[in-house]
Amino acid sequence: MGNGYLAICLLLILIAFAVLALRSRMVARRYEAELRCERTRAHFGATRHQLFMLGVNGAVDMDAPAFATLFFLHTFVMRRNDQYPKISGVLLGQFGRDDERRTVDKSFHAPPLKPVLIDTAAGIDMLIRDHSRLFRFLHALESRSGIVSVLAKILAPKIQRHEARRHPEVVQLQEARREVLSLYHHNNTPAPAHC
């Protein structure tokens, strides 16, 4: 019986530590998700303030549709940067290919608006990356040098196809990012996949 009690005690201690480790992992992941949300929110907040100051200084016309569109878009994302389907829907509505207003309105092509557009595209890139663990893994590989980055280039199309099937909203976000970048480049040709 003595051996039995010893074994039970040992197993209980191991199970207790395993449970504590699992709990820490869960909490850590929640913190990491919160961190990603906070960084994205901060990025869009800074971009919105940059746009606002351009308007205050008179560099950008505050009555132009470009100002209103970008300002409300940034606010929208800041309020719900974890609700991807809604964001992708709004982004596609604003910057989708079938949106005639974008092609008609030239206020998006104002030169002072360029840094805001590129920051908006970078923000959408953050949203895409934060949405999927595989994209985060790919980004981590891409940021390394040497053979790891080559591996990232090999894996990128496969991950892209896989995630496009799993999360259709990511495809919409990518399309919106391409459109924002094409506005940045002052023409309607599609921008490269990675900005």
Binding site: N3, L6, A21, L22, R25, A28, Y31, G45, M53
Partner: protein
């Protein structure tokens, strides 16, 4: 009654645990079994420590990010205050007297940059003074 029913299983569980230990000893030998258990325990303890550190690191990162957001919002508010004061006809000199510009990551960094390293006496230093008086 329910309690008795549950207690009936306790010897069985202990027997199962003892059998498990005995089978480990039979398969790996006494030293092997001990090493196996020690290995599993080390892996679980190590994992626990790693996850705890990961949690602490993530928590600190969130706190830092929130602090940066507060500083960013303070900077935005400062810029808007400047714009408002200029709108009311204040000169640059007047604005500079009341609004100090800076891009800081947290409160202590801003304080050190704007006010120097003047730190208020901490409660511990006060208690030390008190104790020295008593000694005198």
């Amino acid at each position: 009654m329910d309690g008795n029913v549950e207690l009936e299983h306790v010897p069985g569980v202990i027997d199962a645990a003892r059998n498990f230990m005995e089978s480990l000893v039979n398969i790996y030998g006494p030293v092997g079994a001990l090493l196996t258990i020690a290995g599993v325990a080390t892996v679980i303890f190590g994992w626990r420590i790693y996850q705890q550190r990961r949690q602490d690191k993530a928590h600190q990162a969130v706190v830092d990010a929130k602090e940066e957001t507060i500083q960013r919002m303070a900077a935005e508010s400062r810029e808007l205050r400047i714009a408002l004061l200029m709108l009311h006809g204040w000169t640059d000199e007047q604005v500079e007297r009341f609004v100090q510009k800076g891009d800081y990551k947290n409160g202590p960094q801003a304080r050190r940059a704007l006010e120097g390293d003047r730190r208020p006496p901490s409660p511990s230093s006060k208690s030390t003074k008190g104790s020295s008086r008593k000694v005198k």
